[in-house]
């Protein structure tokens, strides 16, 4: 009854019960934190050009190139149980058939870790006003995922190029109307349930105010009139592990 094996078992059992209870309490207590996210997203420029998925492809598809302004304040989403926020902007437009919902694609994303999270190279680096976003100076490695003097969750971008290209499965995207750019987030907790964007309010959690912009895709432009830099995509200077395979 009092052998060391039994004692070790009891201590270990107690440890797991307490750890489980604390984790459950932390996960549920998130509901008590108040959230007031707000954002303003504005499309600045959109062009539709013919292009190829990659150099050796024979398919010629229509690609839409956009530039947008984003001014987001998601600082209230960072509570004691937030490990990181995955922010992303999607573009969606009505589908060709009324019985099929609108297709949607992510055009830009950023991983914003909480200040308490251990450092990981795969983090968004916010462009500062001093370095132009195209330069790859050494300052990038010390960059923070938020502007100078701000806190995690504040993102101020202007004339930002997306990270991924916009194209439709059918290859045609010119002159599509009622397209929408919208901001979303995914809060990754330290333990518990993952949450996504809420536009409605639930108790202390206010819905997102703003963060949507509607536009129409223009008609196809000849490639002679477009500047090459406008067609490029731009990553967030994060260091990921490369190709998946």
């Amino acid at each position: 009854m009092h052998s060391s094996l039994v004692r070790i078992q009891n201590v270990f059992g107690y440890f797991t019960s307490v750890a489980f209870a604390v984790a459950a309490a932390v996960a549920v207590s998130v509901l008590l934190s108040s959230q007031t996210p707000s954002a303003s997203l504005e499309l600045k420029n959109v062009q539709v050009v013919k292009g190829r998925p990659h150099y050796y492809s024979t398919k010629r598809e229509e690609y839409a190139h956009v530039k947008f302004d984003l001014d987001a304040d998601l600082t209230s989403l960072f509570n004691w149980n937030t490990k990181q926020i995955f922010m992303y902007i999607t573009a969606s437009y009505p589908s060709t058939s009324p019985s099929i919902p609108p297709p949607e694609a992510v055009i830009w994303d950023a991983i914003i870790p909480s200040d308490h999270a251990p450092f990981h190279p795969n983090t968004y680096i916010h462009p500062t006003s001093k370095t132009p976003s195209k330069s790859k100076s050494k300052n990038k490695s010390k960059g923070k995922p938020y502007p100078e003097g701000a806190s995690p969750g504040i993102v101020k971008l202007s004339n930002q190029k997306p990270k991924y290209q916009i194209t439709d499965f059918s290859g045609k995207i010119a002159e599509r109307e009622n397209a929408t750019l919208s901001l979303h987030w995914n809060v990754q907790p330290w333990v518990g349930a993952l949450v996504w964007t809420n536009t409605n309010s639930y108790g202390r959690w206010s819905g997102l105010k703003g963060g949507v912009d509607k536009f129409d895709f223009p008609s196809l432009k000849g490639s002679e009139t477009i500047k090459k830099e406008d067609l490029k995509t731009e990553t967030g200077a994060e260091k990921n592990r490369g190709s998946p395979a």
């Binding site: 984790a23 996960a27 490990k83 990181q84 995955f86 992303y88 999607t90 589908s95 058939s97 019985s99 099929i100 919902p101 297709p103 949607e104 694609a105 992510v106 991983i111 870790p113 999270a117 990981h120 795969n122 983090t123 991924y164 439709d168 499965f169 979303h184 995914n186 990754q188 907790p189 330290w190 333990v191 518990g192 349930a193 993952l194 996504w196 964007t197 990921n240 592990r241 490369g242 190709s243 998946p244 395979a245």
Partner: protein
């Protein structure tokens, strides 16, 4: 040690075996019940690769829910590549279809530079929500699943652990 085994009467021994079988079958039924509740063939998975870092690290435990058939962009899904049995946990970056057409998804790991087109089976450009996806991640517990990774990478650990567990169950009823 063997004297304690020999002193057990056949009925006690049978009761022990039955208890052991009861524990095993309860665990099995709990697992299968959770499978039915979530409508997923594997409702709890362990993260095996670092392709979703820093959100998920190797060894994290994920809870899946497979009843939301209208998967949105930004959700994290677990899918099997057609023809292979390895589950992959990545985020949905594009979707089209749905409604009257089958919903098709394109996924990408947060820690990968490119989307998963290279990982899919030959000739497959998109995942089909109804066929390829095992479930969508709704909950997360860090690190506790690392034991299963150790067990699968060092098979002798599995036999050692089973042997140890059987020994303790038999020897405990003094």
């Amino acid at each position: 040690m063997f004297s304690s085994l020999a002193s057990l009467q056949p009925r006690q021994l049978a009761a022990q075996v039955l208890n052991f079988a009861l524990v095993l079958s309860t665990a099995f039924m709990l697992w299968k019940g959770l499978s039915v509740f979530t409508n997923s063939s594997s409702p709890i998975v362990v993260v095996l690769s670092g392709s979703m870092e820093p959100a998920f690290e190797r060894g994290d435990l994920l809870f899946l829910w497979n009843r939301g058939m209208d998967t949105q962009v930004g959700e994290i899904v677990v899918y099997n590549v057609r023809g292979k049995d390895i589950p992959i946990v990545h985020r949905v970056v594009r979707r089209f279809g749905g409604g009257s057409a089958p919903l098709q998804l394109l996924t990408k790991g947060d820690n990968n530079a490119a989307d998963d087109t290279e990982l899919y089976a030959r000739g497959q450009d998109y995942l089909e929500r109804s066929k390829d996806v095992v479930g969508s991640v709704v909950g997360y517990v860090p690190f506790v699943g690392y034991v299963t990774i150790l067990l699968s990478e060092y098979p002798w650990l599995k036999t050692a652990m089973l042997g140890f567990m059987a020994l303790t169950v038999v020897l405990q009823r003094e």
